[in-house]
Amino acid sequence: MTKNVMIVGVGGQGSLLASKLLGHLLLQEGYDVKVSEVHGMSQRGGSVVTYVRFGEKVYSPVIDKGSADFIVSFEQLEAARYLEYLKKGGRIVTNIQQIDPMPVIIGAMSYPENLIEKMKEKGAEVDAMDCLSLAEQAGTSKAVNIVLMGRLSKYFDIPEEKWIEAIKQLVPQKVVDINLKAFALGRA
């Protein structure tokens, strides 16, 4: 059975490292893996989505509506945007950070309120946390992605050491400690 993880956020928030870590780890665990990314214009501060799929044999590189076991979101509004993709009984792991999109910045719309509650009302399991503060606590605001991976790891049947090993292999040597701390804070 193929499992589906969507990683969503705002272009430039570091979702590519998160999907790289997940893909790398799942491959080492012996799964067939596909990771689908977005490059180019969509990255310029726009809504971005990365699909990670794993299982015995994965065909399609994309995740369709009603199919995501997990939606990992770097930002509240983006979690809500992709809610339709969540499988029945699926889980949303989201940073509570709010980043205003252009229609809000120019005053054409307002940032929707109580998004977390609304997603819960729709039946989604929502695990919301202040990843930005935790990342800053670990040493850099850039580690939001690893905080999120730390939280996601709780729902995976993969030993913690394997995640730690994968982080050590993928992040530059000088920021390994910060990222391990971010991972631990997310997982706590």
Partner: protein, 578 residues
Amino acid sequence: MKQLMLGNQAFARGLYEAGCSFVSSYPGTPSTEVTEEIAKYDEIYSEWAPNEKVAMEAAFGACLAGKRSFCGMKHVGLNVAADPLYTCSYTGVNAGMVICVADDAGMHSSQNEQDSRHHAIAAKVPMIEPSDSAEALLFAKLAYELSEEYDTPVIMKMCTRVAHSQSVVDPGERVMPAEKPYEKNIAKYVMMPGNAIKRHPFVEERMKKLAEYGNDCPFNRVEMGDTSIGIICDSTSYMYVKEVFGEKASILKIGLINPLPTDIIKDFASKVEKLVVVEELDPIIETHCKQLGLEVTGKDAFPICGEFSQNMIAEEVGMPVPECVKRDEALPVRPPVMCAGCPHRGMFYTLSKNKTTVLGDIGCYTLGAVAPLNSIEMTLCMGASISATHGFNKAQGKESEGKTVAVIGDSTFMHSGMTGLANIAYNQSNSTVIILDNSITGMTGHQQNPTTGFNIKGDPAGKIDLEALCHAMGINRVAVVDPYDLAACDKVLKEELAAEEPSVIISRRPCALLKTVKHKKPLIADSAKCVGCKSCMKIGCPAISMKNGKAAIDTTLCVGCGVCQQLCKLDALKAGEE
């Protein structure tokens, strides 16, 4: 060892393993990473060319000289390179030559959704299409064998979902092919009428042989399952079909998309009850099937526009799709925006403020068309800003000359803006051209170009001086301005629009995302001074928003460029302490 690779990375690996020695490309999403990955192999000479036509001609020269060569581009890039393509189909090759063209169904990062298969058909060259990274690696290697055996350039077509998806590959070793020394052969390589007339029948014969080869080749394969439905598909569509049907359908997967085979399709059709073609964009396989007299479901069920997905295919064939939660609230969209500190912003604000008619071009700065700047009024293709401004001004005369500009990036100017400027200089329209020189090819992810002074590996290289170039082309008025300085932008724009001769404004500041660019501390919004007039919001910077009626700075985004400060009459935006 098995590893995850992007389709483009696997393509590059395949080129490497096949002994490719020369690569010349122009960046374009979603093709760029093939060449970026190639640049990591020291055994291969690689370069960014000024445009796709130059890249293809360089690759052709290298294959003529006896080296396996490659050039990569996006779908619209192949339009630029169509001229050499259609004739190197006639000359054929010496060592193998492979061309990557990457289509963008769904237009994630493109100005149109053209189907490149038409180019392969029209140019009469073979085109192959992988459906995942492992195939990208394998097909790239096989492409050179095909190229050399059939004496033809070979196009390998990627699409966004294959190019930008990672899947598992098992890389091998680099094996160098036998030497192919260059031999003078005027009849084969000089395409003047007397010679070309003799080459055309060779091309026709070659395509017949390749169509025959397609009946039994490593690119096309039949996977028989349930015979109540038989599906012919290609590229990423194959993956969606497998996802939906598994073994519940028989599949003919086409990897050699041009020329299409006949016997294998007829044979497959005869073994299934209902024949369906699943292909993104235009009905090319479908039309071929219909020409063979087969009854087939294709674009009557599946759309021509946009990308496919597993749910979409399932719905069209009446299979169940998963239930999903419906949102009952319209959410604000989040379109791409110019980054905080983007040097284009100041110039677009100036253009917007002056109510200038702006004909735009292809790059990050196309975002000058979106709110709140709403500045660009036309974007067509690479270089069109300059040529179209000339035409616009010639058509409207004085009425538009004093208020119309072309805006074009440094890389796009080198790609195909220079010829438009030559037209302005030669045919003397009183046009103003703004070169937005951010010292990099930005949109595709920071590739060097002839104006940056560095090559593809980041080593020092030749550097074209834009001011000297414009002067040499006959433009007397060439001004340089810093787009972070709004007063200077306003002054130079007014002066150059008023000038009674062609002029160029170079708006120069490096892309704020470049690692070499040093940023200032984020600005500080003084809520005591801010009255919430929103003057600072006119530039559409993602780092500024209104919180409780006052301007607020997102310190994770702000790079302290200071453009918004110049709009605040109350001094409520202060420089951060260094």
